[in-house]
Symmetry: C3
Subunit: 348 residues, 3 copies
């Protein structure tokens, strides 16, 4: 498998790249080191000195430059070697590392690992995480998944699993009869679930506080290719209109680490009207972490282990109606990858 | 290497599959989940949901059914999907998992992983473990071996190693001069060792209580293809007849887990006349565990590590007279495997 | 990659092979077991019984023989099986293991793993470690490196890295301007670094005790193929002659364990005039260990991890002037390997 590279991916939460420190991570099978220039701007460089292949994060920051810890070559933010301290100091033309365009948006550091420099306008809109949105936010979530990002993307796009995997926390048996709708908006795929006259599962009830009263509930998930998601969920008194957007937003973003591991970043925008005490907020965050890390992650890890190195389709998966969204997503990703190989397209 | 599949293998001790719980294990490179129906009958299913390849043991038992923990598909004891809780609830024809015939006998759960349903009459006879045999028994032994089952089978069939590997516990220098005899009875191979006028090694003396007096001793091992063994061992006053069967029986049964790992189940039938205090019985069990787990297992694990992925015969092993039994066994296994590939035979 | 085999390698420190005990190690991808005959002479045998491939070090010493722990075959110092305790006791002609010539010199056990018996006169001269040299010595150093020996050899031959990797301990920024000279003497390659009017870094100052006064300093490293090194380093008052050998000798010897792991043995000969208290000597040894094990080793391990299974030259390393020595060394090793493959040369 190759990765779609002409796309913006979340490298990490912006706060993880601290002034005066290096941060390093494997993204799309490439080692990358991050640091901040003295003016605060983030930099992303290939994390491998071209001289003797030492990870640059084992070296030191020297102002806006990074210095290899083995022989002291210095590289500037463009990845160009600008100092060879030895002998006559000449710098070979090949002495450079790849520099990746990065862009901070919505508290995340986005990276472009494809051709050209990428257009930051193509970064998905998560403005619900911004202060001016009026939402209270819970950000900084991160889990390392030992599974290919497409398997995790299926988990997110098809929320029918919450009845079984997250029973009592995020879902319940009442939700299994949800009216499901799959739509496309441009390159986006949207999977809406509408559940009239149900009770509210535990974690959601910490936000919605219906104390057991029945509601109409919706969980509408939008896939923004290649691997960003936003969930619009909420409730209202039974019998209301089907659409009542803008209550709660779940932010879920996947970045391939390797073919079989994934960085999973998540956050949420809670209605500002939702009052929670500090204790309730901590309890909410802990339950959410439990659901993602101790329910989703073991399932995903086991799924990848069962697949091993096999191709997903070669395993001849049985398809259900709930797979309509995931299958469209897989086909879209295949088309994007094919287009990228032919050099005919970038991801919007 | 492939495995001989048309044979009954021990999956586990029957007591390991408890009511209301799932038990899972890899057998012959296949993941299998076990549970009991409400009437107590054991069930063995392929441990992988055909929808998204999740191990079924991560799900839940629902009466006689198993429910996948990810999306709630339910499978009955035959492996057929009998409930799809989503959408119109239609069940795709391909939604099934393999069901393996199992049979409880002599306290063990036997599994048939080959063609057809298997004939339980072909399960080896270990009735010495049954109460009506009149023997006291010590059952439930299990060790995981990091070696191919044929290497462990050679260990069992050729007991000449007990002088060296188990000196003082199961063997002694006196036993190296044993009169060895290799016989065949139908598909069985029998390796008899007759040791006249020897003292009794430690573990055996806990059973035989000769307090240092010399005896005639025999250790007669029978191989029942593909990987079951029964040892008939005992002693009598020197000068008696060579054959005096029925004193002590050692039960040793191997099940391939993968090409390079093996499940080793063992038990023993002790003469009912052999009185042991509770302390003595515990000491006996501990010494036996020590001999198998801290003497045999490290040797086997190291042997497999030395072989790596090489074929045994390609390594050109030097052959000794004591290898007569093991070599016949290897050749018999090769013939069985070849026959199975040609579809012309099952294991008796 | 293959290894150069027609060469003497350090198997271990001689004291590691203790009377009555076995010592085993992988060298050049081969498992070797060492022991001492009753007259004290060291023996090296292939660590694998030809019968069932059991590592012989799991067995027992019987006088000058080694006995396999599984079935009791005995091998003499030449590797010939001299006892088969079973049946008629006949010994198959193929029952033998490889015996490797070994030679003790300078406190180390050297092994010849190539063709013929090797000429001990070709073992590199480290007589500075002998008592009659007049040097105090610090021997017995050992670190396991998770990198190919050539990567570690580059580290040793090109000491320009000490300014960066060992700043304050073995090097300093002042040393980066060293006058570097690369010479060849027969098959040896010598990389000399001359640093006039510099201060003395921490570890060296424990020996040289200049208390911050400036000195002229030299670090002259000699490579003796395929993987032995000796460093001649020292200081004198500024303005003296460039050459003033014989102050301090660092002994660094590499033995490939596998293609990607290396045994690194090291020692030092300190000027007898260098008085150190016991505490100072312990502190010196600890700082040296820290520099090698916690500075060099992580860098080397990370370098190998970055290379993975790639060929060094295929990675197109950028070359600097400080690489003149390492590149010549790599080319010499390539010629030696090619010559060995054609059967036309041994290592001198």
């Amino acid at each position: 498998m190759a990765f779609i590279t002409n796309a913006w991916y979340v490298a990490c939460w912006a706060a993880q790249v601290k002034p005066g420190e290096m941060f390093h991570r494997t993204l799309l099978d490439q080692q990358v080191v991050f640091y901040r220039k003295q003016n605060g701007e983030a930099v992303a460089l290939q994390d491998r000195c071209p001289h003797r292949f030492i990870p640059l994060h084992l070296g030191n920051l020297r102002g806006d430059r990074i210095e290899c810890g083995y022989h002291g070559l210095q590289f500037d933010c463009s990845g160009k070697c600008v100092k060879n301290p030895h002998g006559d100091g000449k710098i070979p033309a090949a002495a450079k590392v790849r520099s990746y365009p990065v862009h901070e948006k919505h508290g995340m550091l986005w990276i472009w690992m494809g051709e050209g420099v990428g257009d930051p306008a193509q970064i998905p809109d998560y403005s619900v995480l911004e202060p001016e949105s009026g939402y209270r936010t819970s950000t900084g979530g991160y889990i390392h998944i030992n599974a290919n990002y497409e398997l995790m993307a299926e988990n997110l796009l098809d929320l029918s699993h919450i009845t079984y995997l997250h029973d009592g926390l995020l879902g319940s048996p009442e939700q299994v009869g949800a009216d499901q709708e799959v739509k496309e908006e441009g390159s986006h795929i949207i999977c809406n679930r509408w559940m009239p006259n149900v009770s509210v599962p535990g974690i959601f009830d910490m936000l919605y506080k219906r104390d057991g009263r029945h509601v109409d509930m919706w969980t509408n998930m939008r896939w923004i290719p290649p691997s960003s998601f936003i969930l619009d969920s909420g409730v209202h008194a039974p019998g209301g209109q089907r659409e009542d957007k803008g209550w709660y937003f779940g932010v879920h973003i996947l970045t391939p680490e390797t073919e079989r591991t994934t960085h999973y970043h998540f956050a949420a925008a809670l209605p500002s009207g939702t009052a929670m005490t500090t204790e309730e907020a901590a309890r909410y965050a802990e339950l959410r972490r439990f659901a993602f890390e101790e329910q989703d992650k073991p399932m995903l890890d086991a799924q990848q282990a069962a697949l091993g190195e096999a191709n997903f389709w070669d395993m001849k998966p049985v398809l259900l109606t709930v797979d309509a969204g995931p299958v469209r997503m897989r086909r879209a990703l295949e088309r994007m990858l094919a287009a990228e190989r032919q050099g005919t397209a970038t991801t919007g």
